[in-house]
Amino acid sequence: MGFLDISNATKSYGSLEVLHKVDIQVEEGEFLVLVGPSGCGKSTLLNMIAGLEEITTGEIAIKGTAMNGVHPSKRNIAMVFQSYALYPNMTVGENITFGLEMHGVPKPEREKAKAQVAKLLQIEQLLDRKPGQLSGGQRQRVAMGRALVRDPDVFLFDEPLSNLDAKLRVDMRTEIKKLHQELGTTIVYVTHDQIEALTLSTRIAVMNGGYVQQLGTPKEIYDTPANLFVATFMGSPSMNLVPVRIVEQGGGLAAETFNAAGETVYLPFSAPSAELRSYAGQTITLGFRPEAFTDPGGADRDAGNIVELDSEVVVTEPAGSDTFVMTVLGGTECNARMRADVQVRPGDVTRFALNMDKAVVFDPKTEKRIP
């Protein structure tokens, strides 16, 4: 049993079920990110943990106590909202201590807690201002201060960075991560930004259509996505998906496809599973990330199974740190992440190196990954 237990929780509005049997155990000190496109049910799930939405069936428990029907203020949680939700008529200091005041904490203790949090977040000089006089980043800090001051069991973040500009978002992301490392608090964090999910979390739940598609560490999610949705949703640029035919080749298995010129290309698997062998002769989907598909000089030296192939370049996109090179494999466009100063031009036939260690395969019918 975890610190925060979500067992078989569903949510329905009338006859419409929007969240289907969610099962997640969060350990103490974990940073769980719920990520998915809008309408996937991630905010609904967060609101159910907070007690702002009722749980239709199933149970949500914090520290072993069922929270169904318990008022939000009695769950010992704190929430940071997307709009920050700072009370406009109160000063920053009053905003931070409002929750303590409502819980009947005496004034001297409130002042002490306020001072501590203000110091931690470096907002001491803002305490007497009204929220309207603050910048976006400052409001964000105050909103976090209001959550921190309560010393809750679980922190809930509802897309807290999406109202900030790009640069500030990256800065605040780092700060949230630092804060989590310093305080070791349990956090459930909702976002639609897959980069935020990967950078912040200790575990990620990828959600779509009211289902948890995959629950795992960022590395598991990124390297071995459970299905095509997770594969394409996580990672930017997204994973290349090429239709290939599984063929037997010298005792092993290989994926057969063709390059931009229509020449057949064989991509041998180093250690194919028994499951994959059963697909021999069938067409499946081969997935590989742009960074596993590069120029031969930039390929991972520790990789055991690099396959080199020639193909025509369609487009190049220099991105400063890397150059993305687009080619065509098996009739679909594939993105290769090459070194920044690689010399290729559209129309050239150039040599690519594909790290087959990192490749994953999916059944195109069920869309699930073949182990």
């Binding site: 702002l52 203020s73 929430m79 939700a85 209001r146």
Partner: protein, 293 residues
């Protein structure tokens, strides 16, 4: 000139502009004229009015008509002047405005932030209060007041005005709170504030403009009401408007026009003052509710 016209949408030439101001001035005069006539005649001795021109400025200035209207004029059968009725009106208007505004705010809060099944239907019914002709309810209302023992009392009048004001105040506050961020309410819930605490600590402090709108609207309507005052009040609870009517109607012998004018101004003064003091918030508050994000 260029500075003045730079922030107007349409550029106008000097001649058009002069013409515009002339027309506006004319309209302003036209609207002010009745009040001017009242004011001028309320400080004249009666002979100057009966003997000549109503529009002429007073030759002898006197405040006697004002004193008479306030303290000694014949209202119905009693020579009390208007002042007891002025206080009747105050005793009726202040609680009626306060109660209907507070209840309207609570209604708006519930209808936007604590929604329940059929809440729009209930709101629809409340809006009837805004549009129903008052004459229709006179007799049922009289019966209800009789049954509840409030007939002929100030409390009864307060009740009637609260009921009819509630539709408008609810409408105002509902529109205003509609755009109030719901996340704030949720944050306060998590912080541990209850229904009334959220209302009092979060919502009300942000409701200044719409409270002003509600107060002005209610004050003006209730103070100026004649029908309910005439129908449901006793002698000792009659409001100012009814007393003014009695003053004008009951004069025996010579009609004391100067006293009537002074009385009419006295009756209109409170609404005028409220509008002058709080009027600039009125438009602002109306706008705040109507502009949606």
């Amino acid at each position: 000139m260029s500075v003045a016209s730079s922030d107007t949408a349409v550029r106008t030439g000097r001649i058009t502009r002069t013409f515009l101001y002339l027309v506006l001035l004319l309209f302003a005069l036209f609207y002010l004229l009745p009040f001017g006539v009242m004011l001028v005649n309320s400080v004249k001795p009666l002979e100057e009015i009966t003997g000549g021109n109503m529009l002429a400025l007073p030759q002898t200035l006197t405040l006697q008509p004002w004193f008479e209207a306030w303290a000694t004029a014949q209202i119905g059968v009693e020579p009390t002047g208007l002042h007891p009725y002025f206080w009747n009106s105050i005793k009726m208007v202040v609680p009626a405005v306060a109660i209907s505004t507070i209840l309207g705010a609570l209604n708006g809060y519930v209808l936007t932030k604590w929604r329940f099944k059929y809440d729009t239907l209930i709101f629809g019914f409340m809006l009837f209060a805004c549009f129903i002709p008052f004459q229709i309810v006179l007799i049922p209302m009289a019966r209800m007041l009789g049954l509840s023992g409030l007939a002929g009392s100030t409390a009864g009048l307060v009740l009637v005005h609260v009921i009819f004001g509630l539709g408008f105040t609810t409408l105002y506050f509902k529109n205003y709170y509609q755009v109030f961020p719901t996340e704030l309410i949720r944050a306060a819930q998590i912080d541990g504030a209850g229904f009334f605490r959220i209302f009092q600590r979060i919502l009300l402090p942000s409701s200044g403009p719409i409270i002003v709108v509600s107060v002005i609207w209610q004050f003006t309507n209730i103070w100026n009401d004649f029908l309910f005052g005439a129908s449901f009040a006793d002698l000792d609870s009659q409001p100012m408007t009814v007393a003014l009517n009695n003053l004008v109607q009951s004069s025996t012998g010579v009609k004391q026009y100067n006293v009537h004018f002074a009385g009419a101004i006295l009756a209109a003064l409170p609404t005028l003052i409220v509008y002058i003091v709080a009027g600039r918030y009125f438009v602002r508050g109306l706008m705040a509710g109507s502009v949606k994000g």
